[in-house]
C-alpha cells in the first residue's frame, strides 16, 4: 500500500483524491489544508483523516501531493523533499524562479522522486500529437499555434486575480502549452509577449505569446481568461510534410443540451469527451508506479523549472516590451 498525503483541498485536491481512490494499491492516509473548515468538509466527504500539521502529514505518508495555489508550492514542497518524501507538485512548479531553483536543488540533494504535475502530457489528444510530431508525422515543424482558456477562473480567496500569487494567465494557464511545446519541439531561443495582466482590469486577463525555437520553428500561444464562450483549447502543428490540428470546440464526442427550467427557458450546452481513464488518473498512476518501482518520472523537476523559466520570460517581455532571449 502506497501512502499518500494531499496538501491543498480545492478543485485540484479533489480531482487528485478521486484519482487515488481508483487505485487499489494506494491509500490517501491524511490530507491537509490551512483552511480548517475546508479540510473538515473534504475529510467528511471522502472519509479521510485531516492531518494536524504538516509534520503530522509527513510522518504518515510516503508520497506528498501538493495542490495548493502556486505561491505556496515551495513552502510545502521543500520540507517534504527534505523529509525524503516522494513529491508530486501541481503546475507551475513555483511562483518564482528562485523557489523553483530551491526545489530543483533539494530534489538533487535528497535524490527523491519528484514530478511537476503537467497533466496536459497525459491528455490523450496532446500525448498523441506529441508522439506523432516526434515520429516525424508532419516532417520538420515550421509553425505551431496553441490556444487555451475561457472565462476568468473563480476560486476561494480569488487568488487567480492576484498576480503575485498566480502569475496571471501566462504562468498559471498557458504554462500547460509552454511545457508541451518544450517537450515536443525542444528549447526556445526567444520569446515575445503581450498581455492584459498589468492593465488592472478586474477578472480579465489575456495574452498572445510568440516563441522562436532553437530548431527554427515559430510558435504562437494564446491564453485567455476573457472568453465567456466557455473553456476551449486548440492547437495546430504545421510542418514541411503535413499538419496536425485539434479543436475542442469542433471535435466533440458528446454534447448534451438542456433547458434550465425543463420548459421554455434559456438552455445550457455542455460538451464532454468521455474516456475510460482520465488524464489526472494517468498522471498520478505514472508517478505512483515510479515511486513503487524506482523509475524516473517522465516529467522531471528540470522540466518544471524550464516551463516556469519560459513563462516568466514571457511575463518579463509583456512587462518590458522587449524580446527576451533564453
Amino acid at each position: 500500500m502506497t501512502k499518500v498525503g494531499i496538501i491543498g483541498l480545492g478543485t485540484m485536491g479533489a480531482q487528485h483524491m478521486d484519482a487515488y481512490r481508483a487505485m487499489p494499491d494506494v491509500e490517501v492516509t491524511a490530507v491537509y489544508d490551512h483552511h480548517a473548515e475546508r479540510a473538515q468538509a473534504f475529510a467528511q466527504k471522502y472519509s479521510v483523516r485531516v492531518a494536524e500539521s504538516l509534520n503530522d502529514l509527513l510522518d504518515h505518508c510516503e508520497v506528498i501531493d501538493i495542490c495548493t495555489p502556486t505561491y505556496r508550492h515551495a513552502e510545502y514542497a521543500l520540507p517534504a523533499i527534505e523529509a525524503g518524501k516522494a513529491v508530486v507538485c501541481e503546475k507551475p512548479l513555483a511562483r518564482t524562479l528562485e523557489d523553483c531553483e530551491r526545489i530543483v536543488n533539494a530534489v538533487k540533494q535528497r535524490n527523491t522522486p519528484f514530478m511537476p504535475a503537467h497533466v496536459l502530457r497525459f491528455f490523450p489528444e496532446y500525448r498523441t500529437a506529441h508522439h506523432l510530431v516526434q515520429s516525424g508525422a508532419v516532417g520538420t515543424v515550421a509553425a505551431v499555434r496553441m490556444r487555451r482558456g475561457g472565462d476568468f477562473p473563480r476560486a476561494k480567496s480569488d487568488w487567480y486575480a492576484d498576480f503575485g500569487k498566480s502569475g496571471g494567465v501566462i504562468l498559471d494557464l498557458i504554462i500547460h502549452d509552454l511545457d508541451w511545446l518544450l517537450w515536443t519541439l525542444g528549447a526556445v531561443e526567444r520569446v515575445y509577449a503581450k498581455a492584459l495582466t498589468f492593465r488592472n482590469l478586474t477578472h480579465l486577463d489575456y495574452t498572445l505569446v510568440t516563441l522562436k525555437f532553437k530548431n527554427g520553428a515559430v510558435g504562437h500561444v494564446e491564453g485567455t481568461w476573457c472568453d465567456p464562450g466557455g473553456f476551449k483549447v486548440n492547437f495546430e502543428v504545421c510542418g514541411d510534410s503535413g499538419m496536425l490540428e485539434y479543436d475542442s470546440a469542433r471535435q466533440v464526442a458528446l454534447q448534451i443540451a438542456t433547458r434550465a427550467d425543463g420548459g421554455t427557458g434559456g438552455g445550457v450546452q455542455v460538451p464532454e469527451s468521455p474516456a475510460t481513464q482520465n488524464p489526472y488518473y494517468l498522471e498520478l498512476r505514472h508517478f505512483i508506479e515510479c515511486v513503487q518501482t524506482g523509475q524516473t518520472p517522465e516529467i522531471t523537476v528540470e522540466d518544471g523549472y524550464n516551463a516556469v523559466r519560459l513563462a516568466l520570460a514571457a511575463i518579463e517581455s509583456a512587462q518590458t516590451g522587449r524580446a527576451i532571449a533564453l
Binding site: T140, V141, A142, A143, R145, R190, Y192, K194, L196, R199, L201, L204, Y206, L208, T210, L211, K212, N215, G216, A217, V218, G219, H220, E222, T224, C226, D227, P228, G229, C238, G239, D240, S241, G242, M243, G321, R322, A323
Partner: protein, 329 residues
C-alpha cells in the same frame, strides 16, 4: 456608360479573378491587357476575349479610364507612376509597395496627376467582417482590448519566392490584408511591430513562416500569423480570421467559413467549396462606381495600402533587429 478598364500585368494570380469580375460586371468593359510577358498578355487576352496591347504605353494611350495593376510586388511602383502620368485611375494589387520610398512616390504620383489610387483589399467587403465591425462599434464586446488574426495560405511559388521581386516571403505576401482590417476596424494606426519568421516549411532563402505582434495607437495589441503553412492536402487555399477581445466578450470571425465540405473521391481529396459572397466582385464593383463618380465607401485608398505594407516592412526590420520597431508613417 460602361467604365473602360485595362489590366497591367497578370504576374499576380489575382488578376484572373479581377478579369472575371470585370467581364461579369455590366458596368465594365475590359478594353485590354498589357504585360511585360507578351505571350501571357496574348493568352490572357484570348481567355478573357479582349485585346492584347504590345506595351504598357500603348494600353495607357487607349481611351481607358482606369487600370488594375497585378504585376510582381516590386514592379507596382513604376506601373502606378506610368498609369498616373497617363491620367488613369488605379486599383493596385497588394502589397502596395515593398519599399517605403516606392510607396511615397506612388502616392505623390497619383496626387500630382489628380488620379485616384486604390489598393486591392477585398476583405473589407466581406459581410462577416462588416458585421463584426458593426457589432464592435455598437459596443457588443465593450471596450476593445486585443486582436488576434491569421491569414495563412500556401506558397504560391514563382516570383513570390524571389525576395527582390516580392519584397520578402510569406510576411510580405500575407500581412497586409489583416493589418488593413485591424486599421479599418479600430480607426487606429499600427505604430509598433515585432516579428518572428522562419523557413522550415520550404527551406528556401525566403520566409515561409511569419508571426507579427502589433501595437495600435490606442494601446490595443494584436498578433497576426501570415505563414504559408497550409499543407498540400489542406481542403482550401487558406484562411482569413480575426478575433476581437473586449471587456464584455469576444467576437471571432472566420471569413471564409461559409462552405460545403466536399469529399471528392475522383480527386482523392476533401475540399471546402465556398458559397459566400464574392468579395473580389464587390471590391471591383465599388472601384468601377467610384471611377464613374460615386463616393468611396469600403474601397481601400493608396494611403491604406501604404500603411498596411509599412507594417510588413517594419516586420522585416524587427526580424533583423530582434526587437520591436516603430512603423514608419
Amino acid at each position: 456608360m460602361k467604365v473602360k478598364v485595362g489590366i497591367m500585368s497578370f504576374a499576380h494570380l489575382h488578376a484572373d479573378s479581377y478579369a472575371h469580375c470585370l467581364k461579369a460586371n455590366p458596368n465594365a468593359e475590359l478594353v485590354g491587357i498589357a504585360d511585360h510577358d507578351s505571350a501571357r498578355a496574348q493568352a490572357k487576352a484570348r481567355e478573357f476575349e479582349t485585346q492584347a496591347f504590345d506595351s504598357y504605353e500603348s494600353l495607357l494611350a487607349s481611351d481607358i479610364q482606369a487600370v488594375i495593376i497585378c504585376s510582381e510586388n516590386a514592379r507596382h511602383a513604376p506601373l502606378v507612376q506610368m498609369a498616373a502620368a497617363s491620367g488613369k485611375h488605379i486599383l493596385c494589387e497588394k502589397p502596395l509597395m515593398t519599399k517605403l520610398d516606392d510607396g511615397k512616390a506612388m502616392l505623390a504620383a497619383a496626387q500630382g496627376a489628380g488620379v485616384q489610387l486604390f489598393t486591392a483589399f477585398p476583405c473589407r467587403f466581406s459581410p462577416a467582417f462588416q458585421q463584426m465591425m458593426r457589432l464592435i462599434h455598437a459596443g457588443a464586446i465593450g471596450e476593445l482590448l486585443a486582436l488576434r488574426g491569421t491569414n495563412r495560405g500556401s506558397n504560391p511559388g514563382g516570383w513570390f519566392n524571389d525576395p527582390e521581386l516580392a519584397g520578402g516571403g510569406a510576411m510580405m505576401d500575407h500581412t497586409v490584408h489583416v493589418a488593413d482590417l485591424m486599421r479599418r476596424l479600430t480607426g487606429h494606426e499600427i505604430v509598433e511591430v515585432y516579428a518572428e519568421t522562419g523557413n522550415n516549411m520550404f527551406h528556401g532563402a525566403f520566409d515561409d513562416t511569419a508571426m507579427l505582434t502589433m501595437t495600435l495607437q490606442n494601446g490595443v495589441f494584436a498578433t497576426l500569423d501570415s505563414s504559408w503553412s497550409r499543407p498540400k492536402t489542406f481542403p482550401t487555399w487558406g484562411d482569413v480570421t480575426l478575433a476581437a477581445i473586449g471587456t464584455r466578450g469576444v467576437v471571432e470571425m472566420d471569413m471564409f467559413a461559409q462552405y460545403l465540405v466536399y469529399y471528392d473521391d475522383r480527386a482523392g481529396r476533401v475540399k471546402q467549396l465556398f458559397w459566400g459572397d464574392h468579395i473580389d466582385y464587390l471590391m471591383v464593383d465599388e472601384f468601377l462606381r467610384v471611377v464613374a463618380g460615386a463616393e468611396r465607401q469600403a474601397l481601400a485608398t493608396g494611403e491604406d495600402g501604404y500603411r498596411a505594407a509599412a507594417v510588413a516592412i517594419a516586420g522585416y526590420e524587427s526580424v533583423k533587429r530582434r526587437e520591436p520597431v516603430p512603423v514608419q508613417a
